[in-house]
């Protein structure tokens, strides 16, 4: 226990999810001493992004029964006037985990695999029992990995070694993990896959090897594992609206300098069994081949109206109290336009009111063109980057960080019902003024009256895009309305490898919906409509067929996640007054709810203080006191100093990176039709001097 934490903070924050991280940054920004703790080994909690092996570890971890830690002896540290509120030791926000693998399982060289995965792979093999060698996967041929930018030397080496492996591999039939799902669905699936396996085994494997001249590199399980570090798989799948509150906050606070984004390239829709691209920007509508010119006009006319619908009350007032879908019917739109607008642009359900629909459409349109042809941004390396960026900002302003650090209990003053301190897993008492706590840390007795919603999630690794395009580097969002009434609307987000979330040659597909049943039950119908889920990809014989086919699922993960976004603070029983619970991710596409909650908590804590004001440029920071930046944030603890040192390094190199961020911001902004305020402000000063020189020019020229 050499690395004890300081014993006094202003704010202690438990959990590094987005909401907690934003609050951490905001508090630190106004000079509060912040201790930010996460019991996990990684940042961002339920918002995290994982490499493939990281995800497998996470799956294991979620399945483990709670291991009750040893007593830490917090009793000694209490005074008489105090009582404790024991915190929940592990998060139960995720359930119904199911893993399905559809790729050949050549287990010889799982080089990137950690111990956990080995265990899991073994488990799968055991379950599969008769592993059938189905087909060779073309090991010998050239492996194209798209542009390898030289940053992948270790994986490159691994590949070379991989080509030394035997020419054919053994394939394991897809087997569902035995999670806590209900037995009927899983057994049904099992029999399905068994059938496939039998089909597969009909083919004489050795012949295949000789005949087939593989053109495309087949993705095998071991390949996914080997390239696992190229994956950044989000637990929560969201986009940022380019004029949404999160983007505004990132820009306003200068946290944006820590992240990079890509513009989402396509909005897709599923209609009449077909995936189609939705034209939504002016350029899209112009270029669209699927709309007739008259439809183009109708669409543009309607969208133009939505841009400032408030100005034209005569158009919608009569339908104000009705449903948006009914309102659309009165607008002389064709069925396909109606579908586009409701599901892909407004992205509202049939039940949404006219005003909701109009507002959503307007928001979508306002966001168009700021950074590109769609209204959405996606952070490179996954959404899990964003909470970390806020943590970094917090650390830059002196926040102290501790991962894999649990907190046992809150110390509450009996009389005032205020939390005075926390006691961590090492028995250290840390006093504080306020506690921000991720909702999942709260003890069960606090949450017994709380009603949670659930989010159904699926993560698929696929071999091609759901809609072929000129370039294979597309980031797409597809809204699939319910096939039957009562089913949820499913949001599908497909990420390409240039988002740095999956290995080249694969796509990472996230499905999200509000849960009705288990994730698998909710999402499987959509998955089966959009994707092929069998081992057939191994047996392809005709090449022409391949072009037409739907993408194959290589690997799939289903799980349900708790959605605590609608829980209000007073629903939690017996919380000390200065303890603020933070909700986890919600099912919405954007992060607006999280941002507004973070803001409201901050404002309760510090009324009148500015929420995340722009961080100054590093050169504008002066360090009063003994001179020199407080590298250790004033504390002698080496463990806690680590993150902030890293960020201080960033600061000294910050001059350049800030400029880059600025130029990036302004070039991006200049693509948009209108000027964004933030792009103009930093430029102003630079422009001034040359102008003034011009003024004086007439006197002395010629």
């Amino acid at each position: 226990m050499a690395d004890l934490l300081p014993t006094e903070f202003d704010v202690v924050i438990l959990g590094t999810g987005l909401q907690e991280s934003i609050i951490a940054a905001a508090c630190s920004r106004i000079g509060q001493r912040v201790l930010h703790i996460d019991r996990k080994t990684y940042y961002a909690g339920d918002w995290a992004s994982f490499t493939f092996s990281g995800l497998l570890s996470w799956i294991e971890e979620c399945k483990q029964e709670s291991s009750s830690g040893e007593e830490t002896g917090w009793q000694d540290q209490l005074q008489e006037s105090e009582e404790v509120l024991l915190l929940c030791s592990r998060n139960k926000s995720v359930q119904n985990i199911e893993v399905l693998s559809y790729v050949s399982q050549d287990s010889d060289d799982d080089l990137e695999v950690g111990a956990l995965e080995m265990k899991q792979a073994a488990a799968i093999c055991k379950e599969g029992e008769e592993t059938v060698p189905v087909v060779n996967e073309g090991e010998g041929c050239d492996i194209h990995h798209g542009p390898s930018d030289g940053d992948s030397t270790p994986t490159g080496q691994l590949e070379n070694r991989a080509s030394d492996t035997p020419p054919y591999d053994e394939t394991v039939p897809a087997v569902p993990e035995e999670g806590n799902l209900d037995s009927t669905s899983s057994s049904a699936l099992e029999s399905d896959t068994v059938k496939e396996t039998v089909q597969g085994s009909d083919l004489p494997p050795m012949q295949e090897v000789c005949i087939q001249e593989p053109k495309k590199v087949k993705i095998t399980y071991s390949k996914i594992v080997k390239e696992g570090r190229r994956f950044n798989i989000d637990l929560v799948s969201k986009f940022l609206f380019s004029r949404g509150s999160l983007v505004d906050l990132l820009i306003k606070s200068n946290v944006s300098r820590y992240a990079e984004f890509k513009n989402v390239t396509r909005i897709l829709t599923y209609q009449n069994g077909q995936v189609e691209q939705v034209p939504c920007s002016r350029a899209d509508v112009f270029a669209s081949k699927q709309l007739s010119v008259v439809e183009k006009r109708m669409l543009m006319k309607f969208l133009t109206f939505c841009m400032d619908y408030e100005q034209h009350p005569e158009e919608y007032l009569d339908f104000k109290d009705g449903k948006f879908s009914e309102f659309l019917k009165t607008k002389k739109l064709t069925a396909s336009l109606h579908h586009f607008i409701q599901h892909s642009i407004a992205m509202v359900s049939d039940a949404a009111s006219t005003i909701e629909g109009l507002k959503a459409t307007q928001h979508f349109l306002n966001c168009l063109g700021r950074y590109g042809n769609t209204p959405f941004l996606f952070p490179l390396y996954g959404l899990g980057e964003i909470p970390q960026c806020f943590c970094r900002m917090c650390a830059v302003f002196g926040g102290t960080y501790c991962l894999r650090h649990s907190v046992e209990c809150l110390v509450v003053d009996k009389e005032s019902k205020r939390c005075k301190a926390v006691i961590d897993g090492r028995g250290q008492r840390i006093s504080c003024e306020n506690v921000i706590v991720e909702e999942g840390y709260l003890p069960q007795e606090c949450c017994k009256h709380v009603q949670y919603q659930q989010i159904s999630r699926a993560v698929l690794i696929t071999d091609r895009s759901v809609l072929k395009a000129e370039t294979d580097q597309q980031i797409s969002i597809l809204t699939v309305p319910p096939f039957e009434p009562g089913q949820p609307t499913v949001r599908v987000i497909e990420l390409c490898s240039s988002t740095m979330t999956c290995m080249p040659g694969t796509y990472l597909v996230h499905l999200t919906c509000v849960s009705r049943r288990s994730a698998r039950e909710d999402l499987a119908p959509v998955v089966s409509k959009l994707f092929v889920q069998d081992l057939k990809q191994e047996n392809e014989t005709t090449e022409g067929e391949e072009e037409e086919e739907k993408p194959h699922v290589l690997w799939a993960l289903y799980f349900n996640m708790r959605d605590s976004s609608s829980v209000v603070k007073r629903a939690y029983a017996d919380l000390p007054v200065n303890v603020y619970p933070c909700s986890g991710p919600d099912s919405a596409l954007d992060c607006d709810h999280t941002v507004s909650e973070a803001k409201s908590i901050f404002e309760q804590l510090f009324p009148g203080e500015e929420f995340c004001p722009p961080a100054p440029n590093p050169e504008d920071i002066i360090y009063d006191g003994e001179g020199g930046p407080p590298r250790d944030a004033g504390f002698g603890s080496p463990a806690t100093a680590e993150p902030s040192e890293e960020i201080n390094a960033e600061i000294s190199a910050g001059d350049q990176s800030t400029k880059e961020a600025e130029t990036e911001c302004s070039t991006k902004a200049s693509q948009g039709e209108d000027d964004t305020p933030e792009s103009s402000s930093p430029k102003q000063e630079e422009n001034d001097p040359p102008d003034s020189v011009n003024d004086e020019q007439p006197e002395d020229s010629q």
């Binding site: 000079g31 350029a283 183009k296 543009m300 302003f397 360090y623 944030a633 020189v693 020019q697």
Partner: protein
Amino acid sequence: MHGRIKVKSTEEQKEQKAKERAKKLQFYQATTAAISEKRKDHQFDQEVLELTGQILSVNPDYATYWNLRRQIFLHFEHEKEPEEVKSIHQKELFFLETCLRVNPKSYGTWHHRCWVMDHMQEPDWKRELELCNKFLEYDERNFHCWDYRRFVVQRSAVPVEEELAYTSRLISTNFSNYSSWHYRSTLLPIVHPDHKRQGRISEKILLKEYELVQNAFFTDPNDQSAWFYYRWLLGRADSLLKINCLYVNRDQRRILVCFSRPVNVLSKSSKLILFVDQKLILPEWRPVAGQKTYSCVWLCDLPECTLDNGSLHQDIKVVWDGDDDLQKECTIYKGKRESWCRDSATAEELFRCQMSVEKSTQLQSELESCKQLQELEPDNKWCLLTVILLMRALDPLGYENETLQYFKALKVADAMRTRYYNDLCSKFVIENCILKMEYAEVRVIDMSHKNLTRLCYLDQMVLVTHMNLSGNQLTCLPPSFLTMQCLEVLNADDNSIENVSGLSNLPQLEEVTLRNNCIQTPADLQPLASCLKLSFLDLKGNPVCNLPNIHSELTLLLPQVKEIILQ
């Protein structure tokens, strides 16, 4: 204890700014002074290059310094090794790029870049094209850059097809970019020429372009760039120079030649040659419209007896510039007063192109969809105007009434341009009148009660003898009226004519009625004095009639007129 933000007071900031300004000014003045000093002494060296560079990088519009730099470079070319000059040029290109970043619309900078590229050994044109791409990405309507792009394309012979593909790309990202559309309109006739019509594109491509541009204006009907491009697509071929008409009048011993475009017969470089019975005659040509040098219609008086040699027929031929295509012949028979040879406006496709079935079907469907768009956007002026243009391209006479209806709607939708639309409508109506006259094969043109606000195509009416302009809104009979050399009877009643300056030197004019117009003074009628055959003039209902002694004044002014009606 934490890092705090330095906050500067506004006073402090102001002071600092003022200081910086003063420092800059001082630097600027010192540098410019140093440069002019060196320039006086003709010191064209590296140092001047650096000094001017310092100034130009903040103010790239200082043209003198660009000139100075060019002088230095020329000087270097004599003095230094080619390798060294090359690297200096390279550096200059780099410097120019930084200047363009400061001001991408500086004439001097772009011009200097052209100069450097032209003076470079092994210029890298590919890089220049990429530079253009960059700058056009940044501002797609920067015409400086477009100009430079054309310069690069021309110098490095970039395939036209590639440039065409480039415009397609730009248009697909943002079609509100007339620069791209325009560039496209200059490239298409080169890549896909229509061999029959100069400056036009082949029909197959034309149909594709219609589709493309239609997508644009349906997407945003208020964007004018697409509509303008559409008008270009609907346009006619550049008219070739031709002799449209040759007219001979025996009584006046006069020859009249009409060209399709104004020409200057009197210029030294060209010649209009006249043969009568293969005998070369060198008459004195003059334009009908007074002292102008360029004119469509030229006339000459023949020497006496040229047309009266007693033979049964005489052949008259004019040749322009010795070109076979530019000649016209006609024969005048014994006993005939006049003779002519004329191309009809219909045959010449002056007002309308002959279209293949495919194209007219396409245009027909274009018209249908524009009408559909018009229903969706009833107030869109571009759409209304295009409907009119399409109807004219398809069948000007068949759609005449409908066209007028659309003009009415157009004037309501865009009241500010009423007069423009009136004039445009007049033009179309006159075209129709000419077509009707030609179909009827007469020399009488009836343009009465057509709401005409102006006259045009008068050079197409050289042979007209009777003209009815009554019941319009004309305010003058302009000088272009002079081309109506055969006009005998003119009815211009019920207009608002104040000015009859065009009614002069019309040798055949006998009868003019100008009832209910706005002629104010006898002097306004002065031009008529030169119409020697004029014998009847009706001025009833004009202000001039109310003047005292008007009758005698007019008799004095127009002695040749036998009958003047005032009341």
